[in-house]
Structure formats: structure tokens, C-alpha cells
Subunit: 281 residues, 2 copies
């Protein structure tokens, strides 16, 4: 028997679509409902077997759900979760997959005592491409999902959330929304900003000579600018702090290079290598 | 019949080893001679079929070569080429695979009129790993090799060099050493510096939350710090110019983020995406 009767996914793009595939492949729900804005696209997703049912009507889509996952752009997550706290059945578990968590926690109303329970999630999985056409059932395999309970989240809701993501193949790390945002500013948002500026600052006339190093370093600059503008805006102070730290380190390397202090330069390159080697792959 | 009687490779690491494999696989030489510092390692490479003969004796190794490729670290290329201009037979073609070219051109003596002819090369191919054990016959397939003739290089030498790299599967771009170094500062050296600082500035306690974006953006930070210190030192002013341009662009993005000018922020992200999308892969 499937652990969930009905899983509803709000926003069926790359992440939502991959989640639908993972849930179906692993038999985690009897039915997967996709909720979106375009009925024709949803009908296509039903046709292709990605979801069992598609609707543009949020109240109708979640009325019988025991798990709702909000996969919309981070800017709209808070408002959608607040709607769901009113719409979803009692006992229903609500989560999202937004890349920043503190802004969402601040927007979400107090969970009603006998209503659905919200706990935030952030799967560290994705792609620089977007859209359900790139969805993959194995997107979460072996990936980390951060689950961010707040003070009002029950232990039960956190445990159920953790079990769900583990059942999807992921490894779960639990921390507060604030801790998550500070960490992700360094491991995700800053690299994105740097990659984007690196790509944008490369003169077009030399792009012919871009090789593996440039391609790797700038790959995520191809991601959706609107989505990333929202991510940066919702984690502004932490991103600025990570950026400031990076700029200071970069200035140290620049000074060593300018002053011909090649020993210092090599030491800093070795420090970068140590950190990179520690992570692997 | 092979186009070359004997190709000598000075320094049989990742690049030199891959070149040996490519030359043998494509039948470009009757014999491939490897020249190194450690006879035991060279014997192993003969054993494994990577080279036909190995020697630690430079004069002996190149005495019958009609093509010598210097694959040693960039710092030592100039001096080695000057030795080879005395040692190699008349008509022999000399090249190197160094990542910077102007410093080498400045070090290389005038080619003797009836002696060997030197013309610099830079294959935009490699790996963040080093060593002949990672050598691959297809390393140059479809990659760009920049050939950098100087004023004293004959058209004949440039043509022969170009034909050799094309025969190895590469696409050749011809430009001056100075043009090459300015371009590579932006497409290779700056990305390396940025990737290294990004890796080194990531707090170790958050590395658990590093995902694809961080992994891609910092991948080349795993390369050999000594080799890269040499590359930076031999292209100091151009790297500093590219870095200065990057820092200015990064400060613009930082200001937009700090001031809440999200429209400007998104425009700059879109600019990065346009450039990245134009290159592809």
C-alpha cells in the first residue's frame, strides 16, 4: 500500500515534474495530482504519464491530498502556502522546494491547530534547464534535501517530511531556515552570482577560445535570470555577506599577483585545491 | 607512410602522454620517443605502449627527430626550446604546449637559419588531473589548438604546425602570442583564479550543502597549484587586467543587490545567460 493516498504538486516544472516521476516510480502515492496555470500543458503531462490528473483549480486540486508540495518560483511560495493552510485537509502535510527558506517562514501564517502542517524543504537538486520536459525520476537520488522546521513545526511533521524525501532517494539534513540560508548563500547563491558575472564579463571576441575551465565555471550562468533574481532578493543580506567574504579573498590573491608574491599566490591556490579535493567529484 | 619519422615528446604527463597516444593511434610517426627525468617511469610507459622509446638524455632523444613537442611546465619551456634549437636536426619542427605564449617567445633565441624551426602551440585541452596515467588518445579531438607564429617564424613552419595539430584531430586558430595571452587571460586564467578563490573561501562547515552549481563552478580549483602559479606569473599583466574587469562587473552586481535594484540585477544575470548560451554545452 502506498504511504500517501494523494500527492498534489503545485507547479509542474523541472522539480515538480521530477518529483511526480519519483513518487510514481517508487509507488509513494496512489495518485499524483498536478496543479498549474495551463490546462493544455497539464493534459499533455497526464497524457505522457507524468501525473495522474491535472487541474488549474487549487482548492479542487488539493481537496483530498495528504501531501502537497509547492514547486512554484520562490517569490510566490509564501502566499501559496498560506492559501493551502486554509484549503488543504486536516492532517495534510505541506512543503515547498524553494531555494531560500527564511523569507518563506516569515511569510507563512501560524499553522492552524487541527489543520494541515507546513514544514519547508529544499532539495539540492536541479538543472540549469527548466521545464517538465527535463524532469527525471532520479533527480533526487543521493542528493541532499534540507528540511527546515520552525519553532511552530511539530516533531511529527518534521519526521514525516524527512521520511518522504528519504523515500524519494534523498539524504535529509535538518536545520533552521536561517542556518540554511547562510549556508546556501556560500554554496549556491554566491557561485551563481560569480558564474554569471564571469560569463557576462568575457569579451565576445575571445569566446572562441573558451575551453573546459570556462565552460565548467560558467555553466550555471545559463539558468533562468528571473528565478535567480528572486532567490537573490529573498536572501539578500546573506548573499551580500558571502560576496563580501569572496571579494576580500579575491583582493588578497590580486595583491599577491600584482606584487609578484608568487609564493603567497601558490599558497592560496593550494588552499582552493584542498577545499575542492575535500568535496570530490 | 607516416608524415613524421620520429616525434619526440619532452615531458610525458597528461598532455605529452595524450599526444603520444594520438600520434600513434593516427599513424602520424614511425616512432614516438619520450624524454623525461625518471627512466623507470619512461620504461613503464614503453611497456604500456604509450611511447616506443624513453630516455632521460635530451640530446640523444631528439638527435633523429623531425618534430619535437615540449610538454614541460610553462616556466621551463623557453630554456628547453633554446637548448633544442642547438640540439635538434636541421629541418626539425619544434613546438610546445605551454598555456601562455608571450613569455616563451621573449625567451626563445632567434631560430638558426638552417637549423630547426620553432613555433609555439597551445592546445585548449587538458584536465584538472595530471600525469600520464590520465592520458587519452582523443584529448585533442575537436579541440582548439592556438598556433602562435612570431615575426621570425616562416610560413612553412606555421603551415606544418597547423597540419600536425589538424592531423591530431584538433581545430587550429592562428594568432600572435600577445593576442593569445590576452584572450586566454579572460577565457582560462581568470576563471581558474575565480574558481580557486570561490572554493577556498567556502567555509568548511557548509561544504555538506555544496551541490552541482558549486561543484561545476569550482571544478578547476583542483588543478596543480604549482603549474598554475607559473601560468599566472607568466601572464601577470593580462590576468590582472581581466581580473580588474571582473571585479568592476562584480561590484556593479553587488551594488544592485545591496541597493535593492532587482531590475538591474536581473538584467546583469540575463547578460551572463546570453553569453553562456552563445557558447553552449
Amino acid at each position: 500500500m502506498s504511504p500517501y493516498k494523494q500527492v498534489a504538486i503545485v507547479g509542474v516544472g523541472l522539480l515538480g515534474g521530477s518529483l511526480a516521476l519519483a513518487v510514481k516510480k517508487r509507488g509513494l502515492a496512489e495518485q499524483v495530482v498536478g496543479i498549474g496555470r495551463d490546462q493544455t500543458k497539464l493534459d499533455d503531462l497526464v497524457q505522457s504519464g507524468l501525473i495522474d490528473r491535472g487541474t488549474t483549480d487549487l482548492p479542487q486540486g488539493v481537496s483530498e491530498a495528504d501531501l502537497v508540495v509547492v514547486c512554484t518560483p520562490v517569490e510566490t511560495v509564501g502566499a501559496t502556502v498560506n492559501q493551502l493552510l486554509q484549503l488543504a485537509p486536516a492532517g495534510c502535510l505541506l512543503t515547498d522546494v524553494g531555494s531560500t527558506k527564511q523569507a518563506i517562514v516569515e511569510q507563512v501564517a501560524v499553522n492552524p491547530a487541527d489543520g494541515p502542517a507546513f514544514v519547508g524543504s529544499h532539495p539540492l537538486a536541479g538543472d540549469h534547464r527548466s521545464g517538465a520536459e527535463y524532469a527525471r525520476a532520479d533527480l533526487f537520488d543521493g542528493r541532499v534535501v534540507v528540511v527546515t522546521p520552525s519553532e511552530q513545526t511539530s516533531t511529527d511533521a518534521t519526521d514525516r517530511m524527512q521520511e518522504f524525501w528519504q523515500a524519494c532517494g534523498a539524504r535529509v539534513v535538518v536545520m533552521s531556515a536561517a542556518e540554511h540560508d547562510a549556508a546556501l548563500a556560500a554554496t549556491s547563491h554566491l557561485p551563481h552570482l560569480v558564474a554569471s558575472v564571469l560569463a557576462g564579463s568575457t569579451p565576445s571576441e575571445v569566446l572562441e577560445l573558451a575551453a573546459t575551465g570556462w565552460l565548467d565555471t560558467t555553466r550555471i550562468a545559463a539558468a533562468d535570470p528571473t528565478l535567480w533574481r528572486q532567490i537573490f532578493a529573498s536572501n539578500r543580506s546573506q548573499v551580500l555577506a558571502a560576496l563580501s567574504n569572496f571579494e576580500t579573498q579575491l583582493a588578497r590573491v590580486r595583491d599577491a599577483l600584482a606584487e609578484g608574491d608568487d609564493e603567497q599566490l601558490e599558497q592560496q591556490l593550494a588552499e582552493g585545491k584542498r577545499t575542492r579535493d575535500a568535496v570530490g567529484n
